[in-house]
C-alpha cells in the first residue's frame, strides 16, 4: 500500500472538509463507544479481566521464543505446516509459493490486517493469482480499489450511495438502494467464489501454543467459509498474537468483542487445528501457518514492547477525538488511530510517519479503554522524544521546548516571566477576558479565542496557601 503518512496534515485538512466522510464518521461516533460502555456495564469483572489479560500477554511476550517454537511443533504434530517470514516480502513470497504448489488461480480471503500490512493482494495480483476479499466491507473496498480506514470496520468511511454505485458498476446489476438487497447481492456473488477458490487465506486473532490452534472471530461467517471450503487453508498471523492456552483464550474472548463492537460475543469464533482429519468429509486438506515478524521482534525489549500486547480491537480509535474527526485514511497507512500512531512509525519509519505520534491531544481516552492497558500516550510521547533527539521535529518546536527547559531550570526568571505574561495577557484580553490573536499561537487563535488567565499562577497560589497555613498553625 502506498505510504501517504508524510502528507498527514494535508490529508487531515481534506478529511475535515469532506462532507461525505464527516457524515460517515458520525456513524462511528454514535455507535461503538456507547455499545462498548453498555456491554462492559453488564460484566462487572471487566477490569479484573483486563488486568489478567495484560499479565498473560506480558508473560507470552517474555517467553515468546519458547511459545513460538512450541506452537510450531504442535502445528506440525497436527499435520500442518509452519513458515517463518522475517519481512513482508518473505511472507508474500511464501504465500505465493504455497498457492503455486497447488496451481491456485483464485484465493478467497477472510479479513486480515496483517495481509494489508504485507501488501499481499497487490503481490498476488502481480503474480497472476486473484485474491478475493470476502468480508463485506473489504469486498466493497476491493471493488473500489480502496483500502480499509478502520481495522474492524474497514468501509466506515463510505455511505450507502457509494456501495450502490460500485455494486451496480462492477456487478453489472440494477442500482439498489436497500442495504439488505445489496448485502444479498454480495452474498450471491461471493458464494460462487467461496466454492470455486483453490486456497483460502485468513488471519488469526490469536494462536494457541497449547494445542497448535489458530482462532478467527467474525460476524459474517466469511472467514469461516474461507477456511472450510478450499483445499488449502493458509493462516497469516504475526508473531505476537500468542495466547498460551485455551483457558487464557477465554479471557480474550470476553474482552475482544466487548471492546470492539460492544457485542457480548462475536457470532463466529472458529478454532482451527491442522487439516481435515481421517474420516472428515469437509475441511481443507492442507493447513499452513505463516508467522510474520516484520519488525515486531525488534520491539521486544525496547520502548514499544507494550504495543505487542495489542489485540486489534479498535477501541482506541473508536474513542479517539482525532480519529473520529479525520477518519483512518488521513493517517496514510494500514493502521490508523492511536495504535497506528505507535505502530506505523516502527513499520514504515519515523521519517515517513513523524506526524502521527504528534496528532494526539494526549487526552488519554485510548489508554483508558484499551483492554490490555497499553500506555498509548506514553508510547506516542516516546516517538516525540525520538524525533527531538534525532532533530526531526520542527525546528521551532525544538527551540521552544529548549527555551522552556532552560527557563524551568531558572525558577526566579520563570516566575518573573510568567507573572509578566499573565498580566500582559489579562491586559490584552480586556473585559471579555479572551485573546483573539497571538503572534506565537496562531495555530490556536486562527480557529478559536484563547481565554486569558483569570487568577494567579499556580506557584503564587501555592505560596499564598503555605503562608496561610503557617498563620493558622497548619490547619487549612
Amino acid at each position: 500500500m502506498q505510504i501517504k503518512s508524510p502528507q498527514f496534515k494535508d490529508n487531515a485538512r481534506i478529511a475535515l472538509a469532506d462532507a461525505n466522510l464527516q457524515q460517515a464518521l458520525d456513524n462511528l461516533k454514535s455507535g461503538f463507544p456507547g455499545k462498548r460502555a453498555a456491554a462492559i456495564g453488564r460484566l462487572p469483572e471487566f477490569d479484573q479481566l483486563r488486568d489478567q489479560a495484560k499479565n498473560i500477554k506480558n508473560h507470552a511476550i517474555e517467553n515468546l521464543d519458547f511459545y513460538l517454537e512450541t506452537f510450531a511443533s504442535k502445528v506440525q504434530d497436527n499435520g500442518g505446516h509452519v513458515h517463518w517470514a522475517g519481512s513482508s516480502t518473505e511472507a508474500c513470497q511464501t504465500i505465493l509459493d504455497i498457492c503455486r504448489s497447488v496451481g491456485a488461480r483464485t484465493v478467497t480471503k477472510g479479513k486480515s490486517m496483517v495481509t494489508e500490512e504485507i501488501g499481499l493482494n497487490e503481490f498476488l495480483q502481480q503474480h497472476s493469482v486473484t485474491p478475493i476479499e470476502t468480508d463485506l466491507g473489504e469486498y466493497i473496498l476491493q471493488l473500489r480499489d480502496d483500502h480499509p480506514s478502520h481495522i474492524i470496520a474497514p468501509a466506515i468511511h463510505l455511505n450507502l450511495p457509494d456501495v450502490s454505485e460500485v455494486f451496480a458498476e462492477k456487478h453489472g446489476t440494477e442500482r439498489k438502494h436497500d442495504p439488505q438487497e445489496l448485502m444479498q447481492e454480495a452474498r450471491d456473488v461471493l458464494r460462487q467464489h467461496f466454492v470455486a477458490a483453490d486456497v483460502g487465506i485468513t488471519g488469526a486473532n490469536f494462536y494457541i501454543p497449547e494445542t497448535g490452534s489458530t482462532i478467527i472471530v467474525t460476524n459474517e461467517g466469511n472467514g469461516d467459509l474461507t477456511q472450510t471450503l478450499p483445499k488449502v487453508h493458509i493462516v497469516v498471523t504475526s508473531i505476537e498474537k500468542c495466547v498460551p492456552t485455551l483457558d487464557d483464550l477465554s479471557l480474550f474472548m470476553r474482552l475482544l468483542a466487548r471492546s470492539a463492537t460492544g457485542q457480548e460475543c462475536t457470532v463466529y469464533n472458529t478454532l482451527s487445528t491442522g487439516p481435515r482429519q481421517t474420516g472428515d468429509q469437509d475441511g481443507p486438506e492442507q493447513f499452513h501457518v505463516v508467522l510474520v515478524d516484520n519488525g515486531r521482534s525488534d520491539m521486544v525489549g525496547d520502548d514499544l514492547q507494550d504495543m505487542l500486547r495489542c489485540i486489534r480491537c479498535s477501541a482506541c480509535m473508536n474513542h479517539c477525538p482525532v480519529y473520529s474527526q479525520i477518519g483512518g485514511h488521513a493517517y496514510g497507512w494500514v493502521y490508523p488511530g492511536p495504535m497506528g500512531s505507535v505502530l506505523t512509525p516502527k513499520m514504515i519509519g519515523i521519517h515517513n510517519a513523524g506526524h502521527l505520534p504528534n496528532a494526539s491531544t494526549f487526552c488519554g481516552k485510548c489508554e483508558s479503554v484499551c483492554p490490555v492497558h497499553i500506555p498509548l500516550p506514553k508510547l506516542m510521547r516516546s516517538w516525540r522524544e525520538t524525533q527531538h533527539r534525532q532533530q526531526t521535529s520542527p525546528a521551532t518546536a525544538r527551540l521552544a521546548i529548549s527555551g522552556w527547559a532552560w527557563l524551568a531550570r531558572h525558577p526566579r526568571l520563570y516566575q518573573l516571566g510568567s507573572n509578566i505574561a499573565i498580566k500582559a495577557m489579562r491586559l490584552i484580553g480586556g473585559k471579555r477576558g479572551r485573546l483573539h490573536n497571538l503572534p506565537v499561537g496562531r495555530g490556536w487563535t486562527l480557529w478559536r479565542d484563547l481565554p486569558a488567565p483569570e487568577g494567579n499562577s499556580f506557584q503564587q497560589q501555592w505560596a499564598q496557601q503555605k503562608h496561610r497555613l503557617s498563620d493558622t498553625g497548619g490547619n487549612p
Partner: protein
C-alpha cells in the same frame, strides 16, 4: 532451522537479554500448558442448572437465535416442515442415527446426509454444548459432523439438550479437551450478520440467515 526462524528467535532473545530459556523454565511452561489453570471466571459464567438454562435462552435470544422448546426429538420434523414451507430442497443431516431415524417422510421432508453445498436451504445438526454466559453453541467437526452444515445453508437448526448447557467458555474447553482436538471447533452465537454498510446491523451476511435451536 530456516534462516528466517533463526533470525526471528535471535532477535527476540536479544531483546529479552537472554539466550534460549533454561530447561527448568521450559518445563514450567510446558506444565502450565499441560495442566491449564482457569483465569478469573466471571460470576455470570459460573451459572448452573436452571439459572444456566435461563441465561442461555436469554442470551441466545438477544443474539437473534430462535429457540423452540421441545420435549422429544420426534417433534422436530413438524417444526422443520413449517420452516421449509413448500421448498423442495432437502434437509441436510449429519450421519447421526438419532436424527436420521426421525420420521421425516410423514412431514413430507426429503433429507440428505452429505456435506453442504452452494444453494442448500437448511441443515439440522447436534452440538456438544451451549454456553450460558453468551448464548453460544459449541460444535465440533468430525466424520459425522461436517463443518459446512453449520455455515453454508440459509437456515441452521441445532438440537441442544438442557443437560448440555454449561456456564462459561472454560467448561467448553474441558469438553473439547476430552478427545483429540478436531479440525474445527465452532462457537456460534446467533445468525450471521454485518454492519459494514453505514454501521447498520443487517442479518444474514455469509453464514446462515437464521439459527434455530431446538431445546430438549
Amino acid at each position: 532451522m530456516s534462516q528466517a526462524k533463526h533470525l526471528i528467535l535471535s532477535r527476540i532473545r536479544k531483546g529479552l537479554g537472554r539466550g534460549a530459556l533454561p530447561m527448568e523454565q521450559q518445563q514450567r511452561l510446558h506444565a502450565r500448558m499441560a495442566q491449564p489453570q482457569r483465569n478469573l471466571v466471571p460470576q455470570r459464567a459460573q451459572a448452573q442448572g436452571q439459572a444456566a438454562i435461563d441465561m442461555f435462552v436469554a442470551m441466545a435470544t438477544e443474539a437473534a437465535a430462535e429457540i423452540i422448546n421441545i420435549s422429544q426429538l420426534a417433534q422436530i420434523p413438524a417444526y422443520i416442515g413449517n420452516l421449509i414451507d413448500d421448498d423442495s430442497r432437502p434437509l441436510l443431516l449429519p450421519q447421526e442415527p438419532e436424527l436420521t431415524s426421525l420420521d421425516w417422510a410423514t412431514a413430507n421432508i426429503t433429507t440428505a446426509t452429505r456435506v453442504a453445498q452452494k444453494g442448500d436451504l437448511i441443515s439440522l445438526t447436534t452440538c456438544i454444548a451451549g454456553v450460558a454466559e453468551t448464548g453460544t453453541l459449541v460444535l465440533k467437526s468430525g466424520p459425522t459432523s461436517p463443518t459446512t452444515l453449520n455455515l453454508l445453508p440459509d437456515i441452521h437448526c441445532v438440537v441442544l439438550r438442557k443437560e448440555q448447557i454449561i456456564g462459561g467458555y472454560e467448561d467448553a474447553w474441558d469438553l473439547v479437551r476430552q478427545a483429540k482436538l478436531p479440525r474445527t471447533v465452532n462457537f456460534i452465537t446467533g445468525p450471521s450478520r454485518s454492519a459494514d454498510i453505514e454501521q447498520k446491523l443487517l442479518m444474514g451476511a455469509h453464514g446462515p440467515k437464521r439459527l434455530v435451536i431446538f431445546l430438549l
